[in-house]
Symmetry: C2
Subunit: 377 residues, 2 copies
């Protein structure tokens, strides 16, 4: 099931609430990434404690390890991993193209070899639906798409988009045939079209027509310059169906989130805050902290004196730096808890500003204050 | 400060309470090992949640990283690491002999090179006291001793013991001169004497005469057969001063703990439960579990259905195995929380049995039931 209530609007931006099989999610919302059924370096109590109401997991990783069959046997992904709030899974398509040992794209789907053991797998729109709905039983399944690479010519982007549309139809039919939609689970379509606003408009209309419970914008944050990404966000966000949740895939830079919310997006995910944490980078209200720097050696302050997370309530910068220098994974855990809290607190601030219809002022102030830095990998 | 109240006795065994600068500890007690200021793979909230009232940290690790000076500058070890309950530190002597890059033992102390960067350090009875009391500010400092190796001839053991006694006098004088003892902190002497009961008796008398607030039995669990260790425990435990806490160093096998409690020991520490956890070995009331085994692949049960720890309340064997196979450090965290709880629950059971004066029956039943296995390293 999925119901979406828009509680307030402020320009194109919306404050809403998505209700799913495993609970409701206040939007705009950020989804921490729980790759293979775990948010790296964290336990579920940490993820919930940081304020997450929904997490994302990766179908590609899960189909390889532990495999859809085992997850089904264990009663679905929620019961297997021990997280009882909503879960959204991607379709696996994006990671097949970026991680698999080899892959061949055909009309039918993607034939690929596992990066773990070289075993062959075929991912089709139907199989993606079966894995997510039948095996995992997630709250939100993403339809299989082809994430148009960057750069792409207009012709390449158009051909890729058309394949995505044909797969979207097949994926939707499979999902509905398996009993999805309506009272059980939800499926989001994905708008492609590269960096071409007219293709994005065409794709938005085509995807909206297929009856998905929500619509995502894919194919951004794939290497393009910020200005191009923002142009696509501006061209796409406002024309997606107003009555359904709008998800901007793979975007987690706070400045990009602030911009996308202003353009009507409701859902976000990104590995950035958790990956940066494991590399020793902390997000704070005063900018970013690279914890291994010698300047924090005797710093008794918490990562962010303005933060109330479990890490900031209990550990100093000096101690976290000590753990990081020791190579203790606990340093990554402490930073993960903090960074997730920082992003989820930002989303809370966004929601409050939207409810009060003072979003423009909030976003301008937050953009000035925040410097969460780049991916460290 | 240290006060020790014996609340009940059952044969040689005692149920007691040790009150220290940072709080009290119900005995018999197990001290989780927090090597360089952190119990590996765990946060302090986990250690407290598992029921620990006191932890042990290693002077050798801390003096090298982050160094005594920094810890002092940060306001002592408790404030630096964020643990506000009692801490006991070892003297550093044992780990210098087992870990340092090179070392030379003289009457003055041990000259060694750091295993991290080759830097030279001199550890003396006076420096051990200064580090623990002046820099760390711990609740219990251990005097520097020479841990007699195994095997050792009677002459070797006697010479080593005599050096330990001379160091004990110097260490005690330094500790008292620094303001330790009485109202501030406490220091334990260490009985040596190898595998020779008469030397142990001589050592117990010599150490008891020096006024330490507690007395430890060292030089066991150093490679000797179980029967030899048990003979020394039996020869030493009952003759240590009855009015002071008795600490059996480095012993953590549940069967050994049960035996040592029967011989009057009150305090224990061991890396075994936490190290085994990181290697995928779980202690359960039905024996040990090697979590990577294929038999747990689809096992929806918690590690131990009889356990109420945070891990057993939230994660199945199948999920923990999945995390272990992924190489996620979170698997080690989940097992660490469980294993610490298992050992601390055993100590709780021991205390209850002592209070009810049914220790012999409890120990016999527990010894039958428990198989926590060997060190996996």
């Amino acid at each position: 099931m999925l119901t979406f209530d828009v509680l307030a609007t402020d320009g194109e931006a919306r404050r809403g609430k998505v209700t799913l099989d495993h609970g409701s999610v206040e939007t705009p919302a950020f989804m921490p990434v729980g790759t293979a059924g775990t948010v790296k370096a964290a336990r579920w109590s940490d993820v919930a404690g940081a304020g997450a109401e929904i997490v994302l997991a990766n179908t590609y990783h899960l189909m390889l390890r532990p495999g859809g069959h085992l997850i089904r046997e264990m009663g679905g992904l929620h019961r297997f991993v021990g997280w009882d709030r909503p879960i959204l899974t991607d379709s696996g398509g994006f990671q097949v193209m970026s991680l698999a040992g080899s892959r061949k794209l055909t009309e039918e789907g993607v034939l690929f070899r596992s990066h773990l053991d070289g075993s062959p797998h075929l991912l089709t729109p139907e199989r993606a639906a079966r894995l997510q709905l039948g095996d995992f039983g997630v709250d939100v399944a993403m339809v299989l798409d082809e994430c148009t690479p960057y750069p792409a010519t207009r012709d390449e982007a158009a051909r890729s988009m058309e394949l995505t549309h044909r797969w979207a139809r097949r994926g939707r039919e499979a999902f509905v045939a398996l009993g999805g939609g309506g009272g059980r689970s939800a499926q989001f379509g994905i708008v492609q079209g590269g960096m071409f606003p007219d293709l994005r408009r065409e794709s938005a209309a085509a995807v909206a027509a297929l009856g998905f419970e929500g619509v995502a914008c894919g194919g951004v944050s794939v290497g393009e310059p910020k200005e191009e990404m923002r142009a696509i966000v501006e061209a796409t966000g406002p024309i997606l169906p107003a009555g359904r949740p709008r998800y901007l895939m793979g975007v987690g830079d706070p400045h990009d989130i602030l911009h996308a919310v202003a353009n009507g997006f409701d859902l976000f995910d990104c590995v950035l805050p958790t990956r940066a944490a494991r590399h020793g980078l902390a997000y704070t209200s005063q900018g970013r902290i690279v914890i291994k720097q010698a300047r924090y050696r005797a710093d008794a302050a918490p990562l962010d004196p303005a933060c109330a997370c479990a890490t900031c309530r209990s550990a100093s910068r000096a101690y976290i730096r000590h753990l990081f220098m020791l190579g203790e994974p606990t340093a990554g855990t402490l930073l993960t808890v903090h960074n997730l809290t920082a992003v989820l607190d930002l989303m809370k601030g966004i929601r409050e500003a939207l409810a009060a219809r003072r979003y423009a002022a909030f976003a301008a102030e937050a953009a000035r204050r925040l410097d969460f830095g780049k991916d460290t990998r």
